[in-house]
Amino acid sequence: MEDKPWREMGLTDEEYERICSLLGREPNHLELGMFAVMWSEHCSYKNSRPVLRLFPTKAPWVLQGPGENAGVVDIGDGQAVVFKIESHNHPSAIEPFQGAATGVGGIVRDIFAMGARPIALLDSLRFGPLSEPRNRYLFSGVVGGIAWYGNCLGLPTVGGEVYFDPSYSGNPLVNAMCIGLIEHQKLRRGLAAGVGNAVMLVGARTGRDGIHGATFASEELGEASESRRPAVQVGDPFREKLLVEACLALIEEDLLVGMQDLGAAGLTSAGSEMASRAGTGMELDVARVPRREEGMTPYEVMLSESQERMLVVPRRGCEERVREILERWDLEATVIGRVTADGSFRILEADKVVAEVPVRALTSDCPVYKRERRRPDYLEALQQYDLSALPEPGDYNRVLLDLLGSPNIASKEWVYRQYDFMVRTDTVVGPGSDAAVLRIKGAKKGLALTTDGNGRYCYLDPEMGGAIAVAEAARNLSCCGARPLAITNCLNFGNPEKPEVAWQFYHVVLGMSRACEALETPVTGGNVSFYNETGGKAIYPTPVVGMVGLLSDVSRRCTQGFRQEGDVIVLLGETLDEIGGSEYLAVVHGLVAGRPPRLDLDKEKRVQQVVRAAIQQGLVEAAHDCAEGGLAVALAEMALSGNLGARVDLSGDLPPSRFLFSESQSRVLLAARPEKAGEVLALAKAAGVAATGIGFCGGDRVVISHRGTGLIDLALEEMAAKWRGSLPNCLG
């Protein structure tokens, strides 16, 4: 170990050899550290890049695909939406509050780095079961941290998701998504262009925070992780708020050539990436970097992951104005270097060169690995599991109540009431429906936002699970009347050096790609988080899809709660015998087995078209898709959200457990005024979508029967106690 310091930094012997040959010499300690962070999976995507090429990335409305700080899609009228999702899993496992908080800070910087005004946040979370104190601690800490940072910034957290499963014990997932709004001509890229231009560091001072955080994110969590304290940073949302305002003021006055946030790998990555994109070089003097602590070495300065900092390249002669604006916001701006022509990333300490490497060597010459892929052994037995042999439950009321109380299905109000989801006064549908809807002041249109991803499905069938994640996100948007535009995604997996994980990864991406293709929602960016393992055991393969949709008329939006007595309830799509991977199976039979429901992309597309058309034509009072827990849960959620009961009668020849709890895809429940129900059915018929009137809204109970035989009869109050009470009760 002694004489192979690169190993401790996470580089292999071959990678070290490659660095030597790229440089034509051995790197010094600082250079080695810079390579180690830039060549970590977190920064280089060396294990994922070849697979990510499967994603479709183009559409006429996509203005910026993967490769920039965030994706950009056109929403008409010269406006665009900027969005991206990112993980902060490992830091949150160690220090949940600050880990999650700084995760939010990081993704917000990605958005305003593009010049966009951040307008909303979403969060997608996974934890182990709440029966364990450690998981409760992680869950409350993470939610508290997101609340603290987002609320202080004045950004509404308008949606997200939370799932609990033993596979995430010890390795929680914390994925945060940010959305920004911008006028096309204000878009900025992370470019260090214009030889001779100054490079300025703005925002917080640099301390010894999070040195080697990128490397840390690229290894498994182990016994030693707890003591790896320097990898945990503390956030300062107040300073970030000032930084947002100051940086947007720089854009407003058109003072910048380029801007880039400092995230993982700090100055090393921001500097080299900006130069790489512009095809230039850069010279930085660490002695000029304002420090928070004394005695920092060039190594520490270059690798520090101190938060709330940005790197900007001002137009020539604008440095003073940049400084003035930052000062107005009580922030520092310091010239720390300049753009050069020689393609070299040169680090000085005063007048001494302490590191000098080609920009490309750091950013594009990283080795790319095509990992060996092997179908995991567990799949065969699980997929073949004979679910037809399971006994029917005796009491369906009991089952529905248990499902409503399952933390995966229960109301997430305990979470989102801690988030200020209303600030900015644009949230017209907040958390608690299928997707959030934001109005855009001064315009007729609106935006719909959601995140989705079912790790259990992906575990049982990665390709199907990946496709379902995309389809469900799109379905959630369609259910509020929005046209899905594009996705960002966060791919949370185990160690990609294991062939089984590489196989899962490949197949999830394949499934997602097929769905993106079919639903015309290209990928505009995202993030890969590997090495989510504890004790050598990987989490479920968990892609999280963040999707953005557009409502041409925001007044024609739809929510999931029933609205009026007497409305007809229509089921679009068919219910099949598909309880594999379902919440029913997990809660009632304690099983994760079978095949997840099948997704027919063509059918999915048609169902969504019908839903959108019906909403846009004003035929629908409420809409909600059938997801975890199946039709019974979807119906209960619509009743609980609208505080209005329903009475439905189902037909068909499946066992009741399947009717009620099967998670068949491409199903949506609609409520329509009786005089409009006919039109809804006609729309569906014309599109070749199965549609059945199954009952009516009314009363204060949910009553479900099968050809007249009662299955479920529950008072709203009793269901609400389970559904709303579950999380608060678990958390004490």
Binding site: I94, A204, G207, R208, D236, F238, E293, S306
Partner: protein, 79 residues
């Protein structure tokens, strides 16, 4: 009945945004003489214990388990 005083501070090197803001606030009030501010927590506990030593030991255990966050904080206990 014993009274325990607990002082919880951020580990050195850990960013203290509150301290920074308070320092600036003091400077704005004219107290430029203040060079550094660190903000921590102070807890007073009243507890039953057989003797001082065991009170001390118990409270230290409480700090490790609940009251302080060992990842970013240090603590000190006086009984």
């Amino acid at each position: 009945m014993f009274t325990a005083r607990i002082y919880i501070t951020l580990k050195s090197g850990v960013l203290d945004p509150q301290g920074e803001a308070v320092k600036k606030g003091l400077a704005a009030l004219g107290y430029e003489c203040v060079k550094e501010v660190r903000v921590g927590k102070y807890l007073e506990l009243r507890l039953d214990a057989p003797d001082t030593a065991s009170a001390q030991a118990q409270v230290e255990e409480m700090c490790r388990r609940l009251l302080a966050n060992p990842v970013i904080e240090d603590f000190r206990v006086e009984v």
